[in-house]
Symmetry: C2
Subunit: 325 residues, 2 copies
DNA sequence: CTGTTAGCGCCTTCAG
DNA sequence: CTGAAGGCGCTAACAG
């Protein structure tokens, strides 16, 4: 309610002095400082942050674009982002896009409007060229490999990661290998598909497209995957799946249908959730928490101007052997 | 970059005219309008929203306080909030608090600072009295029953809901009934505990505190619950659990341990997630999506001043019979 | 050490 | 139909 002018009037000083006290500047006589503080207290004054935003041209808010928040993959990534944001003093503005381009655009526009200082894109559907147009307005950090583009990115080498998964299964004696993904169109999915094909060529085994299961995100999708699979005449003996949740769903339904894991069906999951550890699921830890944290810290550096050119960071992955493969 | 003054200068009109065009006011000659629009286009102008925020004293942003985002219960609630926010033109600022009071407070302070117009509290650890102090700064909508307090709330009758669950199990022949919760201290947990005790008294069966399983949120917790339970000499024959995820975890581990559901262990879950449907889990649909949506719409009404006094809304629940109880 | 003053970018009376 | 001017609340030179 009250503003700085009123505080000044009542405390019998100038607005500058009030501002100085509020911002802990030195050179304010102790009695004036106390008078100000007391008035602030008495009037229950609180400063209007919007005035600051306008004045500074910055808001200390980062926008986060992700398709869905209610999914462990992005949930964990968010956790990493949030953790780092807290450390470096940013607020987060999250937009759950469901992959709707208009929603992604809306957040980008917020950056143009100076409502947010930068954007982290966990997953997108807008084309890269389109994003680039927003480059002048603030840093854009993508969580994917984007090649030689003038934007920052934090990424996992999906190709290598997937290759290693397949090789591991092959070494365990599997030659009928399938996998699940969350959506066919995503950039990481195509990278995986390449790895899948290349590895099969290298190992001299045929690729079977009907062993690629789309739309797998959560437990229920794992359950449904098993049901789908059991209807197939020709079935894979091993699967690489999208997440610990999906793996759990598979395990659950496999149990009900009398499929033994890993004897009848081997499983590698692609993240390292608590559930994977509890259930002993062999996992490719793809460091998504780190990915989120790195994205945020890059955004911070870019905003603070420590670095001006786009930054790139590859996140390491690691296979954790447990008992499902 | 460019501001309204520059547009005015270049287009050869006054700032007022520019503002009028930008806000679709009538009474602007067509040629001036066009000149402005063209300049806006050419300079790639975009207005600074912070100036508006300052001027209007409102931001069209709602703060959402929730302990964790990466959990289906709050995920679904968020979905409801987000859906409604989109409809009424609000942005959302989410704070993942992990139940840390300082984080909750931080968001409340943002309201005081005029950074957000209102707050929706999905779950909290700050005491109600404390929240009330922020009443003058904007509407606070809680997602719980708060009794006669000057704040708005959307809630489920946990007592009745739980009672009905127990009665259902009792009618199915169970007299050893346990349940899981997410955290012992929460207000809804105490309501459930009351219902649990009262029902047991009514039915003349003894209460067994060791059948109350704390910290159950996700699949892995369901798995661990079964392991914990199997170590107990005296075991419940039926469980009411926190979520579809927990139920799935129980089902999974029960299968591995040779426990049949519902013969050896009956199950009711407390929400209605996709997983519950896919797995045929008997569920108490507690309408959390609706809860989120209602909370947002109440916040909107309060902000727009349609209503000034706090509002209260009870969300209905409904038992969905499937095959686990 | 302290106060005056000029904006940050925009909208909105109030006079033409 | 259009423009000048004031002000939203705050900070940061710039003078004392």
């Amino acid at each position: 309610m009250a503003n700085i002018k009123e505080i000044a009037r009542i405390a019998g000083v100038s607005v500058t002095t009030v501002s100085r006290v509020l911002n802990n500047h030195p050179y304010v006589k102790e009695d004036k400082r106390r008078a100000v503080l007391e008035t602030v207290e008495r009037l229950n004054y609180s400063r209007n942050i919007n005035a600051l935003h306008l004045l500074k041209g910055r808001t200390q808010i980062i926008g986060v674009i992700l398709p869905m928040i209610n999914h462990s993959y992005f949930g964990v990534m968010m956790e990493g982002i949030a953790q780092e944001a807290l450390k470096s003093g940013y607020q987060l503005m999250v937009s759950q896009t469901s992959y709707q381009p208009e929603e992604e655009q809306r957040m980008l526009e917020m950056m143009r409007n100076k409502q947010i200082d930068g954007v982290i894109i966990c997953s997108r559907s807008l084309p890269l060229e389109h994003l680039e147009a927003y480059n002048p307005y603030g840093p854009i950090v993508l969580c994917e490999e984007i090649g030689p583009r003038p934007m920052s990115s934090v990424f996992l080498n999906h190709y290598q990661c997937f290759q290693e998964g397949i090789r591991y299964l092959w070494n365990k004696g599997h030659s009928s290998i399938g996998y699940s993904i969350s959506r066919m169109e995503g950039p990481s999915s195509s990278r995986r598909y390449e790895a899948y094909c290349d590895m099969h060529e290298e190992l001299g085994i045929p690729v079977n497209p009907s062993w690629i299961y789309d739309h797998c995100l959560d437990i229920e999708d794992g359950v449904l995957l098993v049901r789908r699979m059991l209807e197939q005449a020709d079935r894979p003996s091993a699967l690489i799946v999208t997440s610990g949740q999906v793996a759990a769903g598979i395990l659950l339904e496999a149990g009900r249908q009398g499929l033994r894991v890993p004897e009848d069906l081997a499983l590698i999951s692609f993240d390292n959730m608590p559930i994977s550890e509890v259930l002993g699921i062999t996992t490719m830890d793809n460091g998504i928490y780190t990915m989120g944290a790195s994205a945020m810290s890059i955004a911070d550096e870019l905003i603070r101007g420590t670095t001006s050119s786009p930054m790139t960071k590859e996140i390491p992955f690691q296979l954790i052997e447990r008992s499902t493969a």
